[in-house]
Amino acid sequence: MNKLILGRYIPGDSILHRMDPRAKLLASFYYIGIIFLARTWQAYALLLVFTLVLIGISKIKLDFFIKGVKPLLWLILFTVLLQIFFTRGGHVYWQWGFLSLTQYGLINGAYIFMRFVLIIFMSTLLTLTTPPLSLADAIESILKPLKVVHFPVYEVALMLSIALRFVPTLMDETTKIMDAQRARGVDFGEGNLFQQMKAIVPILIPLFVSSFNRADDLATAMEARGYQGGEGRSKYRILKWRTKDTVAFILMGLLTIALIFLR
């Protein structure tokens, strides 16, 4: 499970680490949106430089980001190859039946590849520099306007933060159950697909049952401590919007203008 880079947080003290999670979340989404504005190699060069500078500021090793790309490598290759061989137009280098290698195909393939890498780098940067809990806070804060349409913002945020808090606990328990079942002779990852799926059952069912018990205990403990729902609660953690968060958005605005200019 340690290979999973997505959703991991690396403690640090860079400007990016100290930014308001709302600003980071919104800015990352915005950035991913404007990547699609880029249509020329100059625009992609600008975006790549921008992203690499941000990674430099975060003081996190580039290895982590490359690791983030790895699990998606096959998807990226698949999409890029499709683009390369199925796009027509421009100079034709090679042709065989319905497959063709053309100038536009190659350019499009390169662009798609860049888009994937940029999006993954940016979202990895977001999760690596923001603790999951802050992200949950940010989501709550961003969803707040939805209260008008009676969306249970507070409950969703509570669910999110409890879910995040129990991830490591449940991971530990899963390993424990797996070891216990192994000790009793269950083979994991052996045999054909059907046998492998059957071997999962002795992990899944105890895990479900214990989650029910946990939920019951937790609800009792919460009630005993006076939890009555989102109304009338005060908040311990608060988010603070500072100048650097506004600056981030000004930068995003400038980047947008530059991208439109480079179309």
Binding site: I162, R165, R225, S234
Partner: protein, 281 residues
């Protein structure tokens, strides 16, 4: 003599669904004085936890009445009663609500709508009391069981309740963690003079109480000071309970035809008795 009764329970009955008429609590009547430390012991299924949960309305009363600090437990008083009672449960992992230590300690205060500046102060104070100040930002997965129980305790302290209920709070801890948690509670009790109700299998924890109540089949089987109760010796073992170490030693010595006093001996008194016996020989 007129001590203030902080908990008064009359004729409590409780039957779990699908229990075929077995009463978890059977006409239980108990009263507890303010500032008292009471240990409730009994074998599994004797109704200890059911009793604890019915005190602050976590279980609906089926018959009988509960009075907490002159407030009868009812639908409209249950939240003010929960403010007066702090509970620490058995499993340290399952009662940790917050994502970090400070969040968890603040959870109860958030529920009460305490303003943030006051909250920060009370969280700091409570965490300091249990000696976890260096761990404020830690996640539960990086704490030991004993540390998690101390955090649970801090969460209760921050709420400043009058009554502390420990529902087998030390039963999942190692001996060191248990010692830490108990020492913290003893210190707390001295400083704030709160009422402590500890439900326990741990006989040493019970021995440090002012009064012990034995539950059996949902009823009070007997109650008295630890000295009274532990003097029962064999009778306790028959009830499925343990006796403190000096009592076990006494029974073993009795078997070897060495005459021992019949009343309960603490560790110190046992040592005293043994050396006087030795000098007489």
């Amino acid at each position: 003599m007129d001590e203030q009764k902080i908990i008064q329970v009359e004729q409590l009955k409780y039957e779990y669904p699908q229990s075929d008429g077995h009463l978890a609590l059977n006409n239980l009547s108990v009263s507890i004085n303010a500032g008292e430390w009471v240990a409730i012991i009994g074998h599994n299924g004797s109704g200890k936890s059911t009793f604890a949960k019915s005190l602050n309305g976590l279980l609906d009363l089926q018959s009988g009445s509960v009075m907490i600090d002159d407030l009868p437990l009812a639908l409209d008083t249950v939240w003010s009663i929960r403010k007066k009672i702090g509970m620490v449960f058995q499993n340290p992992d399952n009662q940790f609500v917050g994502a970090t230590v400070e969040d968890d300690v603040a959870f109860g205060l958030e529920n009460q709508g305490v303003p943030r500046p006051e909250m920060i102060e009370r969280v700091q104070e409570a965490v300091k009391r249990v000696g976890m100040l260096d761990y404020l930002k830690r996640e539960p997965s990086r704490l030991s069981g004993g540390q998690k129980q101390r955090v649970a305790l801090a969460g209760i302290i921050a709420q400043q309740p009058e009554i502390l209920i420990l529902d087998e709070a030390t039963s999942m801890l190692d001996p060191k963690g248990r010692e830490e948690v108990l020492a913290t509670i003893h210190k707390l009790k001295q400083e704030t003079n709160m009422t402590v109700l500890s439900i326990t299998h741990d006989i040493d924890e019970a021995a440090s109480a002012d009064r012990i109540i034995i539950l059996d089949n949902g009823q009070v089987y007997d109650q008295g000071t630890p000295a009274d109760i532990f003097a029962y010796g064999q009778r306790l073992l028959d009830l499925g309970l343990d006796v403190p170490y000096p009592e076990k030693l006494k029974a073993a010595l009795n078997k070897l035809q060495i005459e021992m006093p019949t009343d309960y001996l603490t560790t110190e008194r046992m040592v005293d008795y043994l050396w006087t016996l030795h000098s007489k020989m």
